[in-house]
Each structure stands twice: as structure tokens, then as C-alpha cells.
């Protein structure tokens, strides 16, 4: 915590190579967003899903663009790690295949040592806040530009999932709040059941044009 130095500080003169006046930073924390008036483009900006999304016959898909996505890595057996995260996020770290929902954020379980937090709060602040609390062996990675969240909803939404993925989405196997990462069309997605007929899909930017095309192809013929 004392060692926390954002690499903003590295900018010009304080290169640690040259000036060893402060303790070197362990991790490079960077505010990657601009406060200025700069045009952002979401991964699906050029697809049918952009803006108001696409819908037909009881299936709707819209993007929840420009959320902050942060990967958290750490050891669940490390009580300090758990409590640091929980204090910083004011949320519980979800159990296996679960999510936890806060006012501004959702934390998704990804793997035994990996979680994803998606929040409408600033990524830098969130990360800084977490890093301030954390110590020991952990990692935080800002991936906000690398993925986006889609909201799939409607009474027929499960049909889209059944066409795209071999996983069992039946309520008995996939209750509200569960999350998995699985095969989706010929790419992959993190899928979270938000309510009976609402699903969050988190997909990678570089695959999003393809997936949007797939979704469009499905929805117009469903």
C-alpha cells in the first residue's frame, strides 16, 4: 500500500532508473479514460446491435456499452485477499459459478482464482480503490476496452442460447444469478442469468462483429 505508485508518476522525470528517490511501483495503474470530449466506439458500434439493439419474436439484444470491466485474480484461501476485495467493493466475492450484485457493479465468478467485475463506475478509481486495500499475491487487469456486455431478454431468449451453446440453460440447472463461460456460436461468451428472461452476455471485442452477425442471423429468422 505504501508502495502504491501509479505509473502516471513515471511520466517524465521520475524514471526509477534514474531517480531512485521513491520506492518503485509494483504494479502499473493507469487511468485509461479521458475526461475530455472524445468519441468512443463500442465493439458493436457498426452492427445491428448498436444503439437500440435488435429484436424480434420475443428476443431482444441490446448492448450495455462502456462499462468498466476489471479482472481480479487472487487466492480464495487467502482471507486477507477476500476481505480486502469485499471491503473495497462493498460486495461479496461470489462463490463458484455465481455472481454478486451491487448497486453499481456485478462481480462474476470466472475461475477458482479469477473474477470479473463490471461496473458503471470509473475503472481507474475502482482499480485504485481495490489496489489500495490489496496486498500479497493478486492481480487486477483493466479489460474495459476488450469486451462488452450484451443484454439478451425476452420470452424466447432461451431459444437463442440453445442455438448458440451446448450448455443446459434450463432453470433447474441455470438459476438466476448463475454465471458460466462457454462456447457461444463459434466463439465464446460469459453468460449470466440476470432474471428468468434476462441474460447478460460478455463477449470479446474482436469477435463482436461476428457474434452480432450471428445474433442478427438468428433473430431475423426466429
Amino acid at each position: 500500500m505504501i508502495q502504491m505508485v501509479t505509473s502516471n508518476m513515471l511520466n517524465d522525470t521520475q524514471h526509477p532508473d534514474e531517480k531512485n528517490t521513491i520506492k518503485p511501483a509494483l504494479y502499473a495503474l493507469m487511468d485509461q479514460c479521458t475526461s475530455g470530449d472524445v468519441a468512443m466506439e463500442s465493439p458493436v458500434v457498426h452492427t445491428a446491435i448498436a444503439n437500440d439493439g435488435i429484436q424480434n419474436n420475443g428476443i431482444k439484444v441490446v448492448e450495455e456499452a462502456f462499462l468498466s470491466h476489471l479482472v481480479i485474480r487472487g487466492n480464495v484461501n487467502d482471507q486477507d485477499f477476500i476481505s480486502a476485495i469485499e471491503t473495497a467493493a462493498s460486495m461479496r466475492l461470489p462463490e463458484k459459478l455465481q455472481t454478486s450484485q451491487g448497486a453499481h457493479a456485478t462481480i462474476y465468478w470466472v475461475s477458482p482464482d479469477e473474477w470479473l467485475i463490471a461496473t458503471n463506475k470509473d475503472a481507474f478509481e475502482t482499480e485504485a480503490n481495490l489496489r489500495e486495500k490489496l496486498s500479497g499475491h493478486y492481480a487486477l487487469v483493466n479489460v474495459s476496452g476488450g469486451q462488452t456486455r450484451l443484454l439478451l431478454s425476452g420470452s424466447n431468449s432461451h431459444r437463442l442460447l440453445h442455438a448458440a451453446s451446448p450448455y443446459d440453460f434450463h432453470l433447474s440447472n441455470f438459476p438466476v444469478g448463475k454465471v458460466i463461460t462457454t462456447v457461444f456460436a463459434r466463439a465464446q461468451a460469459l453468460i449470466h442469468r440476470k432474471s428468468i428472461d434476462e441474460w447478460e452476455l460478455i463477449i470479446r471485442r474482436s469477435f463482436s462483429d461476428y457474434l452480432a452477425l450471428w445474433i442478427e442471423d438468428f433473430i431475423i429468422s426466429c
Partner: protein, 1009 residues
Amino acid sequence: MTEINRLDSGGNIDRTQKITFTFNGKSYTGYQGDTVASALLASGVNIVARSFKYRRPRGIMAAGVEEPNAVLQLGKYEATQVPNILATQQEIYEGLTCRSVTGWPSCDVDFGGLIGRFMGKMLPPGFYYKTFMKPAFLWHTYEKYIRKAAGLGRSPKESDADRYDHVHHNIDVLIVGAGPAGLIAATRLSAANVRIMLAEETTEMGGSLLSSQQDINGKDAKVWVKAALKDLQANPDVRLLTRATVNGFHDHNFVTVNERVTDHLAEKAPTGQARQILHKVRCKWIILASGAHERPLVFGNNDVPGCMTASAISTYIHRYGVIPGSRLVLMTNNDNAYHTAIDWYQCGRTVIAVVDTRPNPEGKIVQKVREMGINVFAGKAVIDVRGRNRVTGVVIADIEPSGQAVMGMLTTLDCDTVASSGGWSPVVHLSCHTGCRPKWREDIQAFVPGSHRENILFAGSVNGHYDLANCLQEAVNCADQIILNESLTVQEVLGDFKVESALEEPIMPLFSIPHTKPVMQSPKQFVDFQNDVTVSAIDLAVREGFHSIEHVKRYTVMGFGTDQGKLGNINGMAIVANALDKSIPEVGTTTFRPNYTPVAFGTIVGRYRNQLFDPERYTAMHRWHCDNGALFEDVGQWKRPWYFQAYPGEKMQDALNRECLAVRQSVGIMDASTLGKIDIQGKDAREFLGRVYTNAWAKLAVGKCRYGVMCNEDGMVFDDGVTACLAEQHFLMTTTTGGAAKVLEWLELFHQTEWPELDVYFNSVTDHWATIAINGPNARKLLSELCEGIDLDKDKFKLMDWRQGIVAGVPARVFRISFTGELSFEINVQANYGMHVWKALQVAGKKYKLTPYGTETMHVLRAEKGFIIAGQDTDGSVTPLDLGMDWCLSNKKSFSYIGKRGMARSDCLRKGRKQLVGIQTKSKEVMIPEGSQAVDNPYQPLPLEALGHITSSYFSANLNQSIAMGFIKDGFNRMGDTVYYPQPDGTIITAEICSPVFYDPNGDKQHVE
């Protein structure tokens, strides 16, 4: 054509819906609910095909998927042609167009028939292995004719415009077949709150009950079927599918079901609908209730149109109101077939006789038939059929109780239809797809499913329960077993039934009827109709030494057809057993494999065709590239700009020259976002890097970058890239575009399995960062116009440094690394800003004539500098030493890094290995094509010893000459030597071995102000 064989009533067809269709150019009518087969039979059509080898006229023999003859070409339009559709499966719709796939000029008059009749003797099985060998050069010509003669339908020539879909299911129980067994199992389970799918191949649920006159609970079984369906439909957890074939049973209870959604509606699927759906089902349990196929008996000329299986005739009568003839002779070795005689009789047509091969049939049903006044000849068999295009009569004789010989007087009976029944073959196919073998049951003369590892249960006639009561009971037991095993609670007990048990007399073990003449001289007795395999063919195969049933199959091609021998295989096995004097189980079956019935390629592919075939991965700036003349190169799944056309039609080499000069003379811009990027955090990150890279990482300072090469454990280069030290315990690794996923998995593999004690985490950030490279003497000037917070002074921001600042208003990490040899900056911004920064650079770059360039120019520029591209200049057999990269190996590391031991193996250290060098053509304007092979003396006779190949070759506009890199044996020691590159056109390119660095060898360009 009038429907001379249509009964006045009966059948599950809609007589208010008359439908017209075309067969072989002639128009026919039928009713909604007819198949092509039932409609053709109704109209008295006899010939639907010519046989494969002997070109004999063939008619419809069966009523379902086991039909071997009635194979049609379907379709009016080119794009919707479907080859090899079974008339017995295809429902008619208005305007349906189909024709026979064999017969020239038509299947009614086939000149091939003459050849077949006279040349037939020359065509025993495998005749082609024995002939056409001399003269050898003529084989190709023979082959052409063989190919033309073979093949059934034809492929469409145009692309399929229809849509196909896949649907995944995870369910508790899949029930295959909706006969009485399947239906009652579904009913019983439907009260247990489980997810069920019931899939039925035909158009209607009910199975054999639809073709018979049985009662359940005291009423016509069809009433019971309706009621059961109604109940099932009311349960949302039960999925009912008709026209849905369970075509494959795969490991771990994974099953594919092919649903033909619109084939009965029209040639092309109605707009918006998928033509077919592939259901991919993962189920806890399977109940196989797929029934049994009746097999015909084998006798002389048993293929003349008018010869059918007994049950098929009953099906045509009951399901379609069609009776396929006037005067019937029925031959059987069992009781069950008597039902067909009764059905025929009750239609008011003549049953000439029932010929029962059993010496003393006395069963209830036999009595009943006798009482109807029908002749029953016991202990006799049909040995031959009269007629060519249609049965005109049969020859019968006494048969020994052993079935081994016929004797006595021959009698001829006039008739136009011969039904035969040789017993039933359970549809065990699916039960065998995961490698289990069926087992023989002597009492019913049939194979039933063998024992299984999987959760698969068998109910009904598939398991040899031919009696309806037993059949239903077994299905109920299956359902109960699942309920018990899964500890399910049942709300109410469903599926109780009352059925009168109809005891039958045993079947006589008989498959093939002997003839008075020896096998080789008797009239043709067909076993596999589609492939023209006869008893004598099988007999000959066995005599020639093909004793294994698999050999017989392959030598005679029995069971190779579109029907996979559903009708004939068991008879064939029995004939082999007889010839070898073995039992049928000793001979065994051939292997059952998917598909149970054929499945369209399109269905298997589903949506994943054309644009959806494979993902196209785009960067954040992709749209700009599209709008600005980019042509793309496929790199892995990525689309990368290859080069940009400044104007439509600009030639590639012109574009490259322009781009290359722009970079070296002013500044160029490239989208480098596709490079793999891996975020590495943890206190042991440095140590880890030192283990997976060949060079040293211990001292890399924060703010610095370093190039690294990664090897496999065998010492061969597999990826390379630059890694930056972001903070003491935080690194950013870059990989090649194609290598990203592989490298990440490689790191994880070693971390998770070998060195879990190292504290480090890896995460892909490839998609998170948009990476823009600006290269050229004006790169700094350009950057300085948009950049804040970074001192760009060349001594403050040195080569292999990185800095953080603001570019075009966006926080960025800027790396001063160079793959072109020019002054170069790689700007990384969060990808949502990528397009903004890219565009801002375009605007600011105008005054420097900022030029976008693609991968090809990047390749030329790096080649001018002698930099390698992993994957192009390496191929998995190249060590860093072979590349002259000794400088990249650190032998001072305490840990034996990955690849170190591998590259120290004796062959990797031997003299004379191929080494990567520069190649300069003697005529500097001549380019050596990539892939050209070097030789020392091109005038030697073949084979020539190749010294190595050209890996990279370009025209360098900057140097105004060609440049190349390539491997040469012992190349490092041969600088200045001349080598030759012989070309396919006979020319020889002369070149000199040189340093691969063609441009700016001292690296001065990096130091421009």
C-alpha cells in the same frame, strides 16, 4: 393416370386435398398425407428404378426407410435438387417433381437392361479387380465408364439458398421411436417431472399401430395413440418431434436428431424457416423403441416389380388406402405375415395363396385365414417369380423342414403381387454406434441389442418383444427403471393398458429359399437389391476365401448402399453362415455406424456457412480500413489490412512501393492491434519470463522493453515479441498475431503444472488495447503534435523505452520500438478510443503525408532490416542459432530455460544445418519467388540437393532492388558464395549469399532528430 389401386376408404390421408406431382415427366395425383411411393402405387406404377449392375426393372418393395429401390432425384430447380430421396419417405406436395436416378433412356426402357442380361454373367462380385489391367494406360478410360455407370442421383450445381439450424438440448430422457413402446414410455414418464424428447422418424406418431388392426384397452389402437399424444402435448416438459430421425448415438449419451422441418411442404423452405434442424441432445437416459424391420425371404427373381415385404403391403392399405395389386401370393415363415393376407382379403381383392414354409402351421391366425377360405400351402416355398416388368406368377415347390432344399413337383400360381416375410430384424442400429455389438436370439431368429455401459434401455420389438402386450410392458418397465434410478416422484401412475396377448407359433429359421438348380445356375436371388448382390455372389465370395462378414461386405458391396442393407444384411449373414457351415452369431453382423438414415451436409453445417463459417476478428479501426481502400490478409481469424489502394485499381506493387517509400521518407501508420498482448503480474513475473524466454529478464528496468524469443522444449522457435516492464512486478508481453492464444496457454501450462510456486498471473489484454504504429523519420514530429506528458526527446525517450502520456486527448502508453528500422512509436490506447486516436493521427498527419500501410509493407520494411517473422521465416525446425540469434540466448541464467536443452541435442549442434541468411540476386531487378529452393549446381541430374528455401522475398522500393532471406546449409560460413534458384519455367536465378540486413546496417535511422 387414374388411381387404380386407391381404396374407396381408409388410410390416414386427407381425401379433400388432391395433389398433383410429376414423376419421370408424367403427372400423377395423390392426396395430402401420401408419400411419393404410396401415390405411385395408387396409380399402378410398377417400375421406379433400374438396378445398379444388371439394369433390371425395380419396383417399390417396402414402405419405410428400409426401401432399397425407390431412390429418386427430387427437385424442379437447380439449386434445390436433392439426390437419392426415398419415395417411401418423401411426402408429396403440390408441384413436387421427381424422377428415377437410373435407366437410359428411361427407367421403363433401359438399353442397359440388355447388356445386363447378356453381360451379367461377366459381372460377378469383384470382377473389376480381375480385369481392366491391360494395357495399363487404358485403365483411366475404363474407369471413366465405370464411374458414369455408377452413382445414383446427382448433386445440385448451385448453392443451397435454404437455411439450416442447430438446437442443443439437455434432457433427462430421449425416446427413440413413437410406436406403442415409445409412446407408452413417454406417457409413463410424463408424470415424473422430467424433461423428455420423443423423436419419430415418420410423419406420424404411432409406429406399427398405424398399419395394423390391433386393439388397446378394448379399442382400436389408433384411438389410444391419439389419446396418448393429447396427454403428452399438454406437458411442456415433453418435446414431441415427428419427421425427426435419431441418426447417431455418440459417446456419453450424446445423440443427433435430424428434423426435416419443411421437406414435406415445398422444394424450398418457406421464408424465414429452416429447412432442417439438427437437434444435438445430451440426455441422461435413452429409451430405444425403434421397432423392427420385416425382412423378405430370398428367392428366384425376387426383385421383379410386385415383390414386396408383407408388412409394407399392410402399411399401404392402412396408412394410405392403397392396395398395390390385385392377386396376392404371400410367402412366410412366421405367423405375423398372415395379417397381410387378411388385410388384402378384406380389401376385396384376391389372395391366391399363403405359402407357409413351415411344415405344420397351426396357430390361431393360420386357422383364421383358413377359415376365410384362403389357401394355405404348408411346407412349401416360392422358388421363382415369373414376369419381367411386373410379377405375373410364381413357381412353388415343397421345401424340406430343414430349409436346405426344395423338392417335388413345381407348381405355378398366377398372381401380380408376391409378399414375403422372413421374420423381423430389430432396429438395433443406434445401440451399436458406440461400439457395442448386438446379440443373437435363436428363438426369434434375430439380433437384439447387446449389453451396454451407457444409460440406454430397450423397449418393444427392438428388443425382440413382438407381442404388443409384452412390448408395452417392457416400455413401462423401462420408464419405471428410470423413475427408480433417478429417485423421481410420480404424481400419478400413467400408462396402464389392457391388451390381449396374441400367442404366435415359432418362426422357422429360413432366410434364403433354395432352388432346384445349384446356386450358381439358379435364377438371380437378390439379397441386397440396391447393389445387385445375389446369393450366388455371396456364395462365390465365400468360396474365394472371403470368410469374414466384413470381407463379404466389402467384396460384394452388400450393405454399402443408401439403405445400408436394412432389408438384406441379416439374410446375407445367414447365407454366409450357411456357406461356411457356421452359426449366424459366429458370423456376426457388420458394424453399424451413423447415420441411421442419411443426413444432408447442410443440416450438419447448420448456420455455420458463408459469413458465419468462421469468425472474422476485427480491430477497433477495422471500419476505417474498409472505408479507405484496404485489402485484407487473413492471419489466423483476424482480418488485417494487407495494403491500401490509394485509388481503385491501384496495382499491388505500386501500392507497396508507395507505402514503403512513405514510411522511409516521411511517416506511415499501421494498425498493430492484432498482436497478442498478455498482462503479467506477480512477484515472480520476472523469473517466469526468464524461464520461458531464451534471453535474460532479471535486469529489465521499469519503463523499458525487451525483445524475446520463445522456444519449445525441443529448442525450436515458436514465437517472439517484445515485453515491457510496466512496474516492478508487472509486465506486458506481446506475441505474434497468430500465436497469442497458444502462448497464453503455454504460459498457463507451465505455471499450473510445473511451477505453481511462482507467484504470477496471466491475462489476455489483446482486445483491450488498440495499437497504432507510426513509423518514419517524421514519426516524432507527428506524435509531438498530439502528444502531451511525454518528453519525446531522443535521449529522454530512447529506443526500447515506453512512456505514458496523452495522445489526441486519450491516455496512452507509447512504446518506442521498431520493426521497420525507422524511428517508430507504438501508441496503445484503450480500444474504445482506438478509432478516435487513429482518425486524429490521420488529420494531424496530413502535412507529413501520413500514409496508412498494411502487413505487406511491414514485411518488406522489416526484411530490409533483416528482422524475422516467426512462422514465415521459421517453421518448427529452426533454433535461434539457425537464425543467427545467439545474442538472444542467455546461458548465464541459473534456470535451464525452455528450449535450452532441446537446442543442445546433437543434431541441433551439427555442422551443415540450414541457416537463415540474406540472398541477393545477381541481377538486382530480378526477384526470387518465395519458396524457391537453392542449389549449388543447377545442371546436375535430378534429384538435386536443395540447400534451403527462400522464406521472404520482396522488391524494395527504397533500395530499388530485390531483397530476400532464406535458408542455406551452413549459410553463415558461405557469405559471398553464389547459389542458384531453378524456377518452374526452366529459368535459373543466380544469387549471392549475404547479410540479411540490407538497409541501414548501423541503425542510424533510429537516431533521427
